[in-house]
């Protein structure tokens, strides 16, 4: 039986890698992938804590998150294609349309 802390550590590690990826990578595609890492870190936590508390709520929630992640990936990729068509780039630091 693997102790729950290990899972928490794994989740924290994955989450940190994902956050660093979101904050530092220029390519929007990579940022999207990093977001997937964050979501999966959360999933690991949910499943681990579900095991810990002997409740299936967390696992059910994890299924929702996976579904959500799929939808998010689809929308995100669509946005990236639309963005590329308009701006000829997928680099996050070249896109500052949010200003004004």
């Amino acid at each position: 039986m693997i102790p729950t802390e290990y899972y928490i550590f794994l989740g924290t590690g994955l989450f940190t890698i994902g956050v660093i990826g979101v904050l530092t990578r220029r390519n929007v595609l990579i940022i999207l992938m990093s977001i997937e890492l964050i979501l999966n870190a959360v999933n690991i936590n949910l499943v681990a804590l579900s095991q810990y508390f002997k409740s299936v709520d967390g696992q059910v929630f994890a299924i929702f998150v996976i579904t959500d992640a799929a939808a998010e990936a689809a929308v995100g990729l669509g946005l990236i294609i639309a963005l590329f068509r308009n701006k000829e780039t997928v680099n996050a630091d070249e896109i500052d349309l949010l200003k004004w």
Binding site: V19, V22, L23, T24, I31, A92, D93, I95, D96, L97, L98, K99, W100
Partner: protein
């Protein structure tokens, strides 16, 4: 037919509409078929209406009214005497003996003149325009004589004035013609203004404008004889009549109106339109009966105009101008008759005059036509055998106007002269003037006749080749009118010569006035004697003309030379045009120049000043705007920019920066809680 009496004016209106809208592309033949046919139809319809009118029972009181619709429902208002009136002006027709006579004269003589115009105008430009205007004139004149109230009469009155203007200025490329048209229009406007004032005064006095209601009010005894307001109305109406019917002081337009084509002179300026004033005075006889002052004025002006114009006519050299002054003079006769209360005699003369004066004008037109446009009597002569039909019909007209016994002019003129002598409103001076005018008339008419048709030819050689009798479209109307000029008087064959005076009896119901002074008693001998005397005077006129212009042609020039200044004054028409120019026309022009100067200096100056001031204030406003208003706004914006600087620099628009802030914020709070818990 009487129910459709409104068709009589509508036929020519239709013709006018067709010509003026579509005539330009039509052939002359099509134009004359429509525009002569429709007045002809009008004439036939008028004859039918007349026949039916004669058959009406007595209970109609000799007045047939045919209201068509309410034109101006003006509603209730206070009359000048304080009572409540209710004015409704109708468009309607009134047929009584007086309008019967006018209707038949206008349509009959008018139709003949239309026929004549086919030949006369054949080689002129604007054929369709001429006939369109002529038909429009017929319409207006028929509205004038068939109207049942003063306002509708005024519509016709203005309509004929317009057509007169259009037709006098028919050859509008010639300056003299367009000037003459303007003169006629403006002089008439003076009279028309007075007429309109009279109509307004009638509205507030009687509360109605219908002829039969006003006549009833005048007969009712509500207004005493000599009533001030009635006198004012009568005088205002008469001023209107002096304009339209060319009486002193407004007669000056008629001689100039001869610039129009000759059929126009015959129709408008001899037979019909200029008699509208006489008709209107006769129509208002119930009012004039209440005002001896106005009657005296009418008689005085009439007599003065008669002899004044006749004296000018003695020496004029333009064939149409002689006839024009003759017309003015004869119209004076008609007013003289109305002024002495003999309205019937005035209308009788109006009718006979329509025949012989239209005939004389058309005859002179035929002469002018034969001489390729020559109007100067000094360049005519010896035309008797060259244009025999014209000459014979002209002779009939000349005899009729001179008062040769048993021709139409004789009956009507003698009736007027007798009335001016014998009527309770007449006096001997009026009779003397009338007889003097009769002598002058005979003289100048025979002078015209002899200078044209007798003596030696003074026609230039190149013109002489082209002399030809007019086509039958011109001679047939001449013959018809000559028959009228000879025979039209028989309907009024006077009692003194054993006749029935059917015409007088027919018109009498129109002139039954309780306010009229009773006729004076005179013997048959007196009347017959005066008649003989006036015939003798006319014969003297003829005899002098014959002697001066046929037997010893040189004598006229010697008389003219001997008369010197008097002759010159007559030849220049008493310098009336010059005097009017100096007194009125040039004063009005001066006023116009002063107005123009005022306009340029003060009004324009004011406007320009306002413009300049606006520009100045606009410039100041620009300065204020740029420096003060814009300055404040810019300063405000600058302050906002300054204050917002810290907020602005974090707004990079880069999504990763925002993510950094979020992450750092979360980390900060985590650390904070870890430290404090």
């Amino acid at each position: 037919m009487l129910d459709y009496i409104w068709l009589i004016p509508v036929f020519p209106l239709l013709g006018a509409a067709i010509q003026l809208f579509f005539g330009r592309r039509s052939s002359n033949r099509a134009v004359s078929t429509v525009s002569v046919g429709l007045p002809g139809l009008s004439f036939l319809w008028a004859v039918g209406c007349f026949a039916q009118f004669l058959g009406l029972p007595e209970s109609y009181h000799h007045v047939f009214l045919r209201p068509l619709y309410t034109w101006l429902p003006a509603g209730a208002f206070h009359l000048s005497n304080g009572s409540l009136g209710n004015l409704n002006v109708h468009v309607g027709m009134q047929l009584d003996p007086l309008s019967c006579v006018m209707m038949l004269v206008v349509t009959g003589v008018g139709f003949l003149i239309h026929v004549y115009s086919i030949g006369y105008m054949a080689h002129e430009g604007g054929y369709y325009r001429f006939f369109g205007y002529l038909n429009l004139f017929m319409f207006s004149m028929l509205v004038l004589v068939l109207a049942d109230n003063y306002l509708m009469m005024f519509v016709g009155w203005e309509g004929v004035g317009l057509c007169s203007y259009l037709l006098i200025g028919f050859y509008f490329l010639r300056k003299s013609a367009s000037d003459a048209g303007k003169k006629a229009f403006i002089v008439n406007r003076i009279g028309d203004a007075a007429f309109l004032l009279g109509v307004m005064l009638m509205v507030v006095t009687f509360g109605t404008l219908d002829f039969h209601l006003i006549t009833k009010a005048a007969h009712s005894g509500q207004f005493p004889v000599g009533s001030g307001v009635i006198t004012t109305i009568c005088i205002l109406l008469f001023i209107g009549a002096t304009g339209k019917s060319a009486q002193i002081p407004l007669y000056v337009w008629l001689p100039d109106a001869m610039e129009g084509p000759t059929p126009v002179s015959a129709l408008i300026h001899a037979a019909t339109m200029v008699t509208a004033g006489v008709y209107m005075v006769a129509r208002s006889n119930a009012l004039y009966a209440l005002s001896p002052t106005a009657l005296a004025l009418v008689a005085g002006i009439g007599a003065a105009t008669a002899i004044w114009a006749a004296s000018i006519g003695l020496v004029q050299n333009d064939i149409k101008r002689v006839l024009a002054y003759s017309t003015v003079s004869q119209l004076g006769y008609m007013f003289l008759a109305c002024g002495v209360g003999a309205f019937g005699a005035g209308i009788f003369h109006l009718m006979t005059h329509a025949f012989f004066k239209a005939l004389l004008f058309l005859g002179s037109g035929s002469v002018i036509h034969a001489l390729s446009g020559e109007q100067d009597l000094r360049k005519m002569g010896a035309l008797w055998h060259k244009i025999p039909t014209t000459a014979k019909t002209m002779l009939a007209g000349t005899l009729a106007i001179s008062g040769a016994p048993f021709l139409s002019g004789f009956f009507s003129k003698d009736e007027i002269l007798w009335q001016s002598f014998a009527s309770p409103y007449g006096n001997k001076l009026l009779w003397v003037i009338g007889v003097g005018t009769a002598g002058m008339t005979a003289f100048y008419m025979f002078r015209l006749f002899f200078l044209t048709f007798a003596g030696n030819s003074r026609v230039p050689h190149e013109v002489e080749h082209h002399i030809h009798e007019a086509p039958s479209s011109m001679t047939v109307p001449l013959i018809c009118l000559a028959v009228g000029a000879v025979g039209a008087g028989y309907v009024g064959w006077p009692k003194v010569l054993g006749g029935p005076n059917w015409f007088g009896k027919f018109l009498d119901p129109v002139y039954e006035n309780p306010a009229m002074r009773p006729a004076l008693e005179h013997t048959w001998n007196q009347e017959f004697g005066l008649m003989l005397f006036s015939v003798a005077v006319a014969f003297v006129g003829f005899f002098v003309a014959h002697r001066w212009y046929v037997k010893q042609p040189g004598i006229a020039d010697r008389v003219a030379a001997a008369a010197g200044a008097a002759y010159s004054i007559l030849l220049h028409k008493y310098y009336i045009d010059e005097i009017y120019d100096a007194l009125f026309v040039n004063r009005v022009k001066d006023l116009g120049s002063a107005m123009a100067a005022f306009d340029l200096g003060v009004v324009d100056g004011g406007v320009n000043g306002v413009g300049w001031f606006t520009r100045l204030s606009a410039r100041l406003s620009i300065i204020w705007d740029t420096w003060v208003i814009d300055g404040v706004v810019n300063a405000l914006a600058f302050m906002v920019k300054l204050v917002s600087w810290p907020a602005r620099i974090v707004q990079t628009g880069l999504v990763q920066n925002y993510a950094w802030f979020i992450t750092l914020g979360v980390l900060f709070f985590m650390v904070y809680y870890l430290v404090h818990l």
